[in-house]
Amino acid sequence: MAEVRMPKLGESVTEGTIGKWLKQVGDSVYKYEPIAEVTTDKVNAEIPSDFDGVLTAILVAENETVKVGTPLAVIAEEGQAAASQNETGATAAAEPAAQRASDDGEAQSPEHDAQRSRYSPVVLRMSQERGIDIARIKGSGIAGRVTRKDVLAYVPGKDGESAGGAQAAERKQGDVATLPSASAYAAPDKSESPSTPPASGEAPEREEWLPVTAIRRTIAQRMLQSKQQAPHAWMMVEVDVTPLARLREREKKAFKQREGIDLTYLPFFIKATVEALKEFPLVNSTWAEDKIIVKRDLHISIAVATENALVVPVIKHADRLSVSGLASAISELAQRARSGKLTLDDVQGGTFTVNNTGAFGSILSQPIINAPQAAILTVESIVRRPVVRGDDSIAIRSMVNLCMSLDHRVLDGWVSGQFLRAVKLRLEQMDEQTSLY
């Protein structure tokens, strides 16, 4: 908006009278076009406009006398006038940002987003040092920029509480608990404990917004990556573990007394798996674009849900362990996982994953492969069911489904089927004669 003022029409002229307005409000005006006639005691003259634009206001009426310099009219210039910058021509660094801010909100939205994700070095450094998720900090700087003061003032919610109820539901007290869709390969680093600020504040009434913790973000990333990279195929077999169930029933009390840990089904399943892997080493491999790397070592990943994280520790050289040894290893890893004492070595190097999804009563799962492994096996719930036997009689047997997701780049139906059959056979052969050691 530009003003036209009463000009000084002579050396000693101090005021002037508007004789006649030549333009009305709403008229468009070009630069130097006369807009009013002025009379003074010395001279009559026309006042030209100094700007191109539209006359938006007349401030002094005809026949009114005003002093030199008094604003007479307002002209809205064509195009937005750039905000006048400080006159020395020197530039404060925030000038471009200030210009954006001074524009009448036109460019706000795209600029806002641009500034919102531009983090200064100190903001990045501090948020890393303090383990703050930078995306969660509200910016008080220009156009929503997160400033150093914002980071200093940031207060996360109670530490350790996981976002949402989903993870809490997955906790299992005694047993090695797992998750329906296995394989989150999250490092159990203590410093990564999710900082979860209060989720509310911006959510509308019928919604609850759960903040995404660092762990969840990692899980999400890994799951997506795995599914995107490996073409997942899936296979399932039913296994009759009635003799195995009897074995466990018989041994578990004495085992607990002797070893001090529970004898669950998992060690048995892992033992059968490991032996089958020895027979079909291709299942224990990795796709490497121009080659398939078949691993000679058998490190079995198992998923463990702890209070505030999901971890997948690894039983190293699982083929060297007996059932009892596996039970120990599982128990020890689970304990360390829950107390946050897992080392990086504990969670690295797995070559095949076994997941106990049956802990929730699931009888069928489609697990996501724990990249870069080639396959993952889930052990579903053991269910007592009527089954038709070989001699056409019907009996109640303990049946369990074993589900396997496989990377179809490395494996195909034939190998996988053979592998699963091998696992099944071994499990069905486990009975009261089987040694735990």
Binding site: G89, A90, A92, A94, S120, P121, V122, R125, I142, T147
Partner: protein, 327 residues
């Protein structure tokens, strides 16, 4: 402690050192009989005589050259260049001779020279009585440059300069002579060369400046305080060598830095301060380093509105500070 004018503090420093040390003497145009065109050396010729308060011909090259020679000979000259703008004929002596003396003689010779020169504008001095010239010299190894903003620092830095065994340029802002007065310690008072002074502690933005601009920046900082912006203000005091530690520490404190000086922007002291901060404190910066300086125009116009355009003032500084604080 006595409240003294900037100009009186300078005179006191000269007088006290001349009394203390016979080898100290003053030379320059109109310093003796006239007492200096600004009256800095008034009364001194009466006390010390014309051999120690020496009126020279109008020949800056000679003023500097004679002083350098005297210094090499063991005397302690305080050479005055009547206006910093006139220092140009003396540049060869200062840069080619004074700055290199110790280095080229491998410590056999040194040059305990002080060159005093009033600098700065806003006094309708136009092109030859308003310039800031520190940028020409701070680049030269072997020269120290001090630019006090307060009367106490003027006395303390001048005494330190006189006692310094190597050449020191003492730029005194002519606009501060009678504008500024503050508490000056009586008697012996030295301020170490190369150490900056924190004038104001703050947490939101850092302003680094020197000379007259220190006072303008203080005023701006006070205004901003009432708007909720807390300013850390660092007075460099010495422009060569720069107090790197103080600069980096002040920058780190807030992450937002505004460097202010009256001198032209390009290649000014602000450029070096900015580079130091960028080199040593990148991961503490919350905003690009800002410089508010004199425009790249010959300093400075005679026409009053143009001189006002050129000179920085508290309003301009406050505006730049606000922008930085909001970033």
């Amino acid at each position: 402690m006595t409240v003294k004018l900037y100009i009186d503090a300078i005179r006191d420093a000269i007088q006290e050192e001349m009394r203390r040390d016979d080898s100290v003497f003053v030379l320059g145009e109109d310093v003796g009989v006239r007492g200096g065109v600004f009256r800095v050396t008034q009364g001194l010729i009466e006390e010390f005589g014309e051999s120690r308060i020496m009126d020279t011909p109008l020949a800056e090259s000679a003023i500097a050259g004679v002083a350098i020679g005297a210094a090499a000979y063991g005397l302690k000259p305080i050479a005055e260049i009547q206006f910093a703008d006139f220092i140009m004929p003396a540049v060869n002596q200062i840069i080619s001779e004074a700055s290199k003396m110790r280095y080229r003689s491998n410590n056999d010779w040194h040059c305990p020279l002080v060159i005093r020169a009033p600098y700065g504008g806003g006094v309708h001095g136009a092109l030859y009585h308003s310039q800031s010239l520190e940028a020409l010299f701070y680049h030269v190894p072997g020269l120290k440059i001090v630019m006090p903003a307060t009367a106490a620092d003027a006395k303390g830095l001048l005494i330190s300069a006189i006692r310094d065994p190597d050449p020191v340029l003492f730029f005194e802002h002519k606009g501060l002579y009678r504008l500024v007065k503050d508490d000056v310690p009586d008697g012996e008072h030295t301020v170490p060369i190369g150490i900056a002074a924190t004038r104001r502690q703050g947490t939101d933005i850092t302003v680094i400046t020197y000379g007259l601009m220190v006072h303008h920046a203080m005023e701006a900082a006070q205004e901003l305080e009432s708007e909720g912006v807390s300013t850390e203000l660092l007075d460099l005091r010495t422009v060569a060598p720069l107090d790197r530690e103080a600069i980096v520490s002040a920058a780190r404190k807030t992450g937002k830095v505004l460097i202010v000086h009256e001198d032209n922007k390009t290649g000014g002291v602000g450029a070096e301060v900015s580079a130091i901060i960028a080199e040593e404190a990148l991961f503490d910066l919350d905003a690009p380093i800002a410089r508010l300086c004199g425009p790249d125009i010959p300093a400075m116009p005679f026409s009053p509105p143009q001189e006002r355009f050129y000179m920085l003032d508290p309003d301009k500084i406050a505006a730049a500070m606000r922008q930085l604080a909001a970033f």
